[in-house]
């Protein structure tokens, strides 16, 4: 991309906090693809909307860089969570819900989501591909929690399983996920 300067994470964060445009360009060139991937795994049916979210995410990163606390995690982790939250917010926005009404009946929302998640798409990308390797009962829960943004309580209610079981299964799924990432 014509950028010759490289940064360690420390240098990059410092430069970004000093409002260095060049550092921001480097950040975009190096992370936009990974973040766009996670956005598209959440907003699966609308590439244009996913691009809009990516744009919003990077503008937010630029504006909120002051609030990034390195002691709590890596820069990418922080950005990944911004991208995930922005995507789920969009997924739950009234306008997006309205656009989906033709596809899902309101009293069937939970079942619909559960069905969608159990029928894994063949063209899954990124983390979703790793999910394919999990047991179906684990996969559904991670899908609902991570990619749909439901709380453990909401999942327990919609799947009619005890909250403790939801937590344990998600934890176990994440441990498996970690092993697959090695």
């Amino acid at each position: 991309m014509g950028i010759t300067t490289t940064y360690t994470e420390l240098e990059l964060v410092r430069a970004l906090k000093e409002r260095d445009d060049q550092a921001f360009g480097f950040l975009y060139d190096n992370y936009s693809g990974a973040l766009y991937s996670i956005i598209k795994q959440i907003i699966t049916d609308n590439s244009e909307l996913a691009s809009d979210v990516l744009q919003e995410v990077f503008i937010n990163i630029w504006r909120k860089i002051e609030s990034y606390d390195q002691s709590k995690g890596r820069l990418f982790t922080w950005m990944l969570n911004i991208a995930r939250n922005a995507s789920i917010d969009t997924l739950r926005s009234k306008s997006y819900q309205n656009s989906q009404k033709n596809q899902e009946l309101p009293d069937n929302v939970y079942k619909g989501v559960a069905n969608q998640t159990t029928q894994m798409n063949v063209d899954n990308i990124g983390l979703k591909k790793v999910l394919e390797k999990l047991k179906p009962e684990h996969r559904v829960l991670v899908e609902l929690a991570y990619f749909k943004g439901f709380t453990h309580e909401e999942i327990a209610e919609m799947m009619t399983i005890p909250l403790g079981t939801v937590k344990t299964r998600i934890r176990n799924a994440l441990i498996q996920l970690r092993e697959y990432l090695q």
């Binding site: 921001f24 360009g25 744009q55 990432l181």
Partner: protein, 273 residues
């Protein structure tokens, strides 16, 4: 607490991926300040996650970057975004002194050439325009005079043709030229004689037709004409008397007396009766 059990519980993944509850998060962050091993384990998972995500990156549409840079440029314009090199190159082109002066010199030279060309073109056009104007004026004058002449003729013809005193003499062909024919309009009061050629053969360039009036047996010259102007009224010489009109072929300019052998047509007037 058993740190290894805690690390293996999945709480790290849950925390990093944003799935931990608020109490879990608070506890995890608290423990991280105490146990560097926990931080190391967290960093390890974060790096794996980042690596995996980078490997499975999806290239976003290029316009997103432009929009993002525009958006942040609005809130912050201290530095030119380095990640948009094309913009910088454009600015360098226009401000670079070496290339700029060469370009300027070229523009200056081109401007002078253009200026000279335009001045010459202006001069050319101007003089051409003057020529055309004077030609136009001359043509207008001609047209006016021609018009007035034509009007005069038309008026004359009208008076001649409508005048009850005008005698129409129908000239018919002789034996030597049976097809020749012409009309004489003769106003006996004004003694004007007009000739309308109906059909007279073309003559060699050294010959002309000559009109005669026969007065008391003697021919009197009424002028020469060419047969070229078919059906045009020609004003001939005046005569007060005429028993007959005759047309002969003579040498160019006419003859003092008619060559009767070459008489083409003849018509008698009422005076002859």
């Amino acid at each position: 607490m058993n740190l290894q059990e805690y690390i293996a519980s999945g709480v790290i993944e849950s925390y990093v991926m944003g799935l931990a509850s608020e109490p879990e998060r608070a506890e995890f962050e608290q423990l991280c300040t105490q146990y560097p091993e926990l931080v190391a384990a967290r960093r390890d998972f974060e790096e794996r996650l980042e690596e995996y995500a980078s490997e499975h990156a999806v290239l976003p549409p290029p316009e997103v970057k432009v929009k993002v840079l525009e958006a942040i440029g609005n809130t912050h314009s201290r530095k030119i975004p380095s990640s948009n090199p094309s913009k910088i190159i454009t600015m360098e082109n226009s401000t670079s002194p070496v290339r700029g002066s060469g370009w300027l010199r070229f523009i200056a030279a081109a401007s002078i050439v253009l200026l000279i060309a335009m001045a010459w073109l202006y001069y050319q056009t101007n003089s051409q325009n003057k020529d055309l104007t004077s030609t136009n004026d001359r043509l207008k004058e001609k047209l006016t005079s021609t018009d007035s002449i034509l009007n005069k003729i038309v008026e004359e013809q009208k008076t001649v043709l409508k005048d009850p005193n005008t005698t129409v003499v129908n000239m018919v062909g002789t034996q030597s030229a049976p097809k020749s024919s012409a009309n004489i309009y003769w106003d006996s009061t004004s003694s004007n004689v007009f000739l309308v050629v109906k059909n007279m053969p073309k003559l060699p360039s050294d010959q002309q037709y000559q009109l005669w009036a026969l007065i008391d047996g003697k021919p009197s010259d009424l002028g020469v004409f060419d047969a070229t102007n078919d059906k045009v009224i020609l004003k001939m010489k005046n005569t007060q008397k005429a028993q007959a009109f005759a047309i002969t072929i003579e040498q160019k300019g006419g003859a003092p007396s008619p060559t009767l052998q070459k008489m083409q047509s003849m018509g008698k007037t009422r005076q002859s009766q």
